[in-house]
Symmetry: C2
Subunit: 125 residues, 2 copies
């Protein structure tokens, strides 16, 4: 048995519009953009006006999209469960797995690290 939580919305912006998009979302959500040191293509928006975390990713040529991160204490088990429900694995990231839903939308399964995981995650029965 493992636990899951949708933790984050990521704004995937093409390099050409990344700076404008980052500055827009930081100001829109009353935050200050902060590059993630370990993963410089990612930018966090600390204390954004949001229930979930919101982050940005420079994806190079684009096109722009949003994606979701599903946080879990067992990435392999969650990827297997979601594949059984109809998702398709696309790629292995450094600590995460990229999948597509039945409409082709990208999302990631990521290891848990948010401070709310213990309280807000749900057990997969």
């Amino acid at each position: 048995m493992h636990r899951i939580l949708v933790r984050e919305v990521v704004v995937d912006a093409p390099s050409a519009t990344f700076a404008a998009t980052r500055d827009f979302w930081a100001a829109a959500l009353l935050s200050e953009a902060q590059e993630v040191e370990a993963f410089p293509e990612f930018t966090a928006l600390p204390d954004a006006a949001s229930m979930s975390w919101v982050g940005l990713q420079d994806i190079g040529p684009g096109p722009a999209r949003f994606h979701l991160d599903i946080e879990t204490d067992d990435v392999a088990a969650e990827v297997a469960r979601l594949a059984g429900l109809g998702a398709v694995k696309v790629a292995d990231g450094r600590t995460w797995v990229v999948m597509r839903d039945p409409s082709g939308l990208l999302f990631d399964v990521v290891p848990h690290e948010s401070p709310w995981f213990a309280e807000h995650s749900r057990e997969v029965g």
Copy 2:
């Protein structure tokens, strides 16, 4: 002065894959899909394993996308503020306004209705 909160992620699925996408996200997030009576193109996922609300919308021909809803107690003021930050107004919805960010991503500015708005929303200074 008004308040804002990113309240919801909406999965916009084409009609052709809507049922499969709805059933996938409902099972993935440990919820049961519930059509929104007043707006039958929308489906809620009550008590989903998520910090934000997650919903679905049948968008007809597609393509699939995620969009965000920014909840506020003053839609007109928030639309004006976001336009000043670089967003472009796309359309008026029934109670909401559709905008695009600097990368072209769609999001909505919606009237507040979530039970967490008072506690979690942030004042636009």
